[in-house]
């Protein structure tokens, strides 16, 4: 319980820190970018405009501290202002969320499974050919920037071979519906962007999984299990892997930030209209309110995943439950 309380505390503190970062940045950065941007926000509903002025410190005639508390209050009530087009930031984010959730969610799970299995297996068979090639290869692959993998895939499968679509989330002019052809269209458009993400993130996790497995295998209880005559597979999965994953769960969750960042670039590359693409267009439009809202959202997403990982760790690892 103390473990959970500690992790829950960290969650709240980081959330508060992210909100504060959002507040501090416009005031600390040189120039008056915020002022210039807000000046173009004509015709926005006054409540939203006022919330933005408080957040960015423009035209505000009160102390910074007063602004700060008002800003925090606004955040807690969900008032994040409006975008340059006058749409509420939250509405804009929610409308694009499903596409990114689908893309990143599915690829993360896939990459986790692939990475874990490959890491476990290659660690178990140390000295074998798999272990000689796979970890360094995947480690190198994981260091390659995601967009380059995307570029290569585009070149191979779309430009040269013309098997898969190059951009978008579904075909031009198609009407979204729950029919099989449309679903297949969506899947077809998600293959290349998804593949890029899976390749890079699986690489990341294979490496750390393998290293953890190796350390775990050296432990006494594994040696005991082997001496007892248990089957290799049983030892590998039930004893070693379970314990090797544990320290990694939280680490996996924290690497999600890197995955989300990669998803931004991938969505840009494939013009995939999710949150990442929204972030990109917001940055070219200098739509500061939308950018800060998105930044907050991304941080919150990582935080939630870390919290879930912590919960899982608490459930799976009895050591954390000791009072």
């Amino acid at each position: 319980m103390r473990y959970l309380a500690r992790r829950g505390g960290l969650f709240l503190v980081t959330l508060w820190a992210a909100l504060t970062v959002n507040f501090i940045i416009p005031r600390v950065m040189p120039g008056n970018e915020a002022q210039a941007v807000l000046a173009t926000f004509r015709g926005a509903n006054p409540g939203a405009l006022h919330a933005l002025e408080i957040q960015f410190g423009v035209n505000v005639h009160q102390s910074v501290l007063a602004s700060y508390f008002q800003y925090l209050g606004n955040c807690l009530t969900g008032q994040f202002g409006v975008t340059a087009q006058g749409v509420p930031v939250m509405t804009e984010i929610m409308s694009k969320l499903p596409w990114t959730l689908g893309l990143v969610g599915v690829t993360t799970i896939l990459a986790f499974v692939i990475g874990t299995v490959a890491g476990v297996y290659s660690a178990w068979r140390r000295g074998g050919r798999l272990d000689a090639i796979l970890p360094p290869t995947l480690f190198i692959v994981s260091t390659v920037p995601v967009f380059f993998v995307g570029l290569l895939l585009i070149y191979l499968f779309a430009v040269k071979l013309n098997w898969l679509p190059l951009s978008g989330n579904y075909s031009v002019g198609a009407t979204p519906s729950f029919t099989l052809p449309f679903i297949w269209d969506v899947l077809k458009h998600a293959i290349l962007p998804g593949l890029s993400l899976v390749i890079v993130t699986a690489g990341l996790w294979v490496y750390s999984m393998r290293n953890n497995m190796i350390t775990t295998i050296a432990e006494d209880y594994v040696k005991t299990a082997r001496a007892k005559g248990l089957s290799s597979r049983r030892i590998m999965y039930d004893y070693a892997a379970r314990n090797a994953i544990l320290p990694n769960l939280t680490g996996f969750a924290m690497q999600l930030g890197y995955v989300l960042g990669g998803a931004i670039v991938i969505e840009y590359l494939f013009s995939y209209p999710g949150l990442g693409y929204l972030f990109y267009t917001a940055s070219t439009d200098h739509d500061l309110p939308l950018m800060q809202g998105l930044f907050l959202f991304y941080t919150l997403a990582v935080l939630i995943c870390v919290l879930i990982a912590d919960l899982l760790t608490a459930v799976v690892d009895p050591r954390t439950r000791e009072a």
Binding site: T40, Q85, S167, V172, S271, Y277, T281, D285
Partner: protein, 576 residues
């Protein structure tokens, strides 16, 4: 290319343009038949097929179709397909008379101070109600209640010459002007969408420009059938007035207009054959687009307006003629056109006249600045500028010839052109840095005069071209246009007088006036046209025929040209 969204809105302040140069607008457009333009003979009678438009607007659809809302207007989604003009004027064939459209004929009288239109019979609105002269009168009079829909500044209250619009008899509308207003024909007849009185008169008359118009009712060839943020679907208007027995118009049954957020997916859709009617700038178009199906894929880029390097004449250094002359001699326009615009745009003329579109107006006897870097430096030296140790010229007080050039973010061809210009100017000792801005800041900076140099014009923000060079040049040079399109803030009483004389002048006199203005462009160099901006146009003839081409330029071809799109879609037909 991402369409610029503020073009016409600010025109309301100062668009005193005029002249339908050279064309016989004083005679009634008598050559019309009652069914207007005829369809091509191929496949007459066949209805079917689908055309997908590919024009990147950079945003999802808001599903409003108000033709007076400038951001909707510039997409071409409303005026042309749904709403129509009184008569159609083709800039590319300015020597031909206008084509009657909703008006079957028109007549000037009273020394070009009275314009009478005879309104066509038998036209219905898409909701079935009959169209009449009352709708026309209502459209123009409504501009008095809401000035923001007077996009071309027609009425006297907005600085124009229009004093009254009234119905005469059953089918005529009379326009009365305070002074000779021949050039205004273009704005009244071609650039004003006619709206239904029975729907718009029920709205708040002072706020017509903010009416969203989600279920538009128009007279046009297409009806908006479904709209989502991603796509607008149009179906043919089965009661369209141009249809006759055995000759249904339009012949293409459906038009789709998807929303693209950036150039990449838009260009790819064209390359992969998912769209047939493109209005995009595509780098390397030969291998990217045409090469994938050379038999059916075609392009045509008719030049329509200048893309120019515009100096802010209130800047002390740029206000000096030698500096501007040096700029003009230092730029290799052919190189900019070749590398920046992939050769799709021609180098422009310092006279500001677009050729070959307005070849007949161009004064070829004028000596124009050519690419001559040595001469550029010589001019600077003679004017007293000295080259510093960093290779940049400075005047006697030490002020360096170092400027920023503002341009629109996302216009990759303009960025590439500016890279070439930067290198060329550096070679003669003038340092410039390109500065990207989003379209809103760009517009307000240029119109407010907050810049040193700017890259502006056709395709971005610039004067609206018309059927003669008068329109663009007036937009750029008339002192009354400062704040709208006269970004350079050029002010000359003599030049103003020239423009003012144009409206009442005879065709021969108009030519002389334009000649004198070309002279001003060459001797004063108020701005430097670099390339001739074009209408980007790609078309695929696999399933659809009847497109405008260089040999048959019956309309401006891009999907964002309004109201030319109405003319294009009434010519298209399914090929099988």
């Amino acid at each position: 290319m991402k369409r610029f969204q503020w073009v016409v809105a600010v025109a309301a302040v100062c668009m005193l343009v005029a002249a339908c140069g050279g064309s016989s607008s004083s005679t009634s457009s008598a050559t019309s038949t009652s069914s207007g333009t005829s369809t091509t003979s191929a496949n007459a009678g066949k209805v079917g097929g689908k055309v997908v438009i590919d024009n990147v607007t950079g945003a999802t659809w808001t599903c409003g179709f108000n033709p007076f809302n400038s951001s909707v207007l510039t997409t071409g989604a409303t005026f042309g397909l749904i709403y129509e003009p009184l008569e159609y004027v083709n800039i590319l064939q300015s020597t031909k008379p206008p084509t009657p459209w909703l008006a079957s004929s028109s007549q000037w009288s009273n020394g070009y101070k009275t314009l009478t239109f005879t309104i066509r019979n038998g036209v219905t609105w898409s909701d079935g109600k009959p169209f009449s002269a009352n709708d026309v009168a209502y459209t123009f009079n409504a501009m008095k209640s809401d000035k923001t829909i007077d996009l071309n500044a027609l009425w006297t209250a907005d600085g124009g010459p229009l004093t009254s619009v009234a119905v005469k008899g059953t089918d005529q509308v009379v326009f009365t002007f305070s002074a000779a207003a021949q050039p205004y024909f273009y704005f009244v007849a071609d650039l004003t969408p006619i709206i239904p009185q029975h729907i718009w008169s029920t709205l708040n008359q002072s706020k017509l420009s903010s009416y969203t118009d989600t279920t538009p009712v128009g007279t046009g060839p297409y009806v908006m059938s479904a709209c989502s943020g991603q796509n607008v679907k149009y179906l043919r208007n089965s009661h369209y007035w141009q249809s006759a027995a055995g000759h249904p118009v339009p012949q293409i049954a459906e038009i789709d207009y998807p929303a693209f957020l950036s150039n990449t997916p838009g260009n790819l859709a064209l390359a992969q054959g998912q769209a047939q009617w493109g209005g995009q700038y595509i780098p390397n178009i030969q291998s990217f687009y045409i090469g994938k199906d050379p038999a059916h894929r075609h392009i045509w880029f008719p030049p329509v307006g200048n893309v120019s390097l515009v100096p802010n004449l209130t800047n002390p250094l740029l206000g000096e003629l030698p500096v501007r002359q040096a700029l003009a001699y230092a730029i290799n326009k052919a190189m900019v056109a070749r590398l920046g615009e992939s050769g799709y745009q021609q180098p422009a003329n310092q006279t500001g006249v677009i050729t070959p579109t307005f070849q007949s107006w161009s004064d070829s006897s004028l000596a124009q600045p050519t690419y001559d870097p040595a001469k550029a430096e010589q001019i600077l030296n003679s004017a007293g500028f000295k080259k510093g140790s960093d290779g940049i010229y400075a005047d006697n007080s030490g002020n360096k010839l170092s400027f920023t050039i503002k341009t629109i973010a996302g216009y990759s061809d303009w960025d590439a052109s500016l890279q070439v210009i930067t290198q060329e100017l550096k070679a003669v000792g003038i340092a410039v840095t390109a500065q990207d801005e989003n379209s809103t800041s760009y517009a307000s900076d240029l119109q407010g005069g907050h810049f040193q140099l700017a890259y502006a014009g056709s395709g971005g923000l610039g004067p609206i071209p018309g059927p003669s060079p008068y329109y663009e040049l007036r937009g750029a040079l008339y002192s009354g246009s400062i704040g709208s399109y006269n970004f350079a803030r050029y002010k000359s009483a003599s030049t103003d007088a020239l423009f003012n004389q144009y409206a009442a002048a005879s065709p021969a006199q108009q030519q002389q006036i334009i000649d004198k203005i070309q002279q001003v462009m060459v001797s004063d160099i108020p701005f430097i046209p670099v390339t001739e901006g074009v209408d980007w146009f790609q078309y695929d003839t696999t399933d659809v025929g009847g497109w405008p081409t260089a040999s048959n330029p019956y309309a401006q071809p891009a999907p964002f040209n309004s109201p030319d799109s109405a003319v294009v879609v009434t010519h298209l037909y399914p090929t099988h």
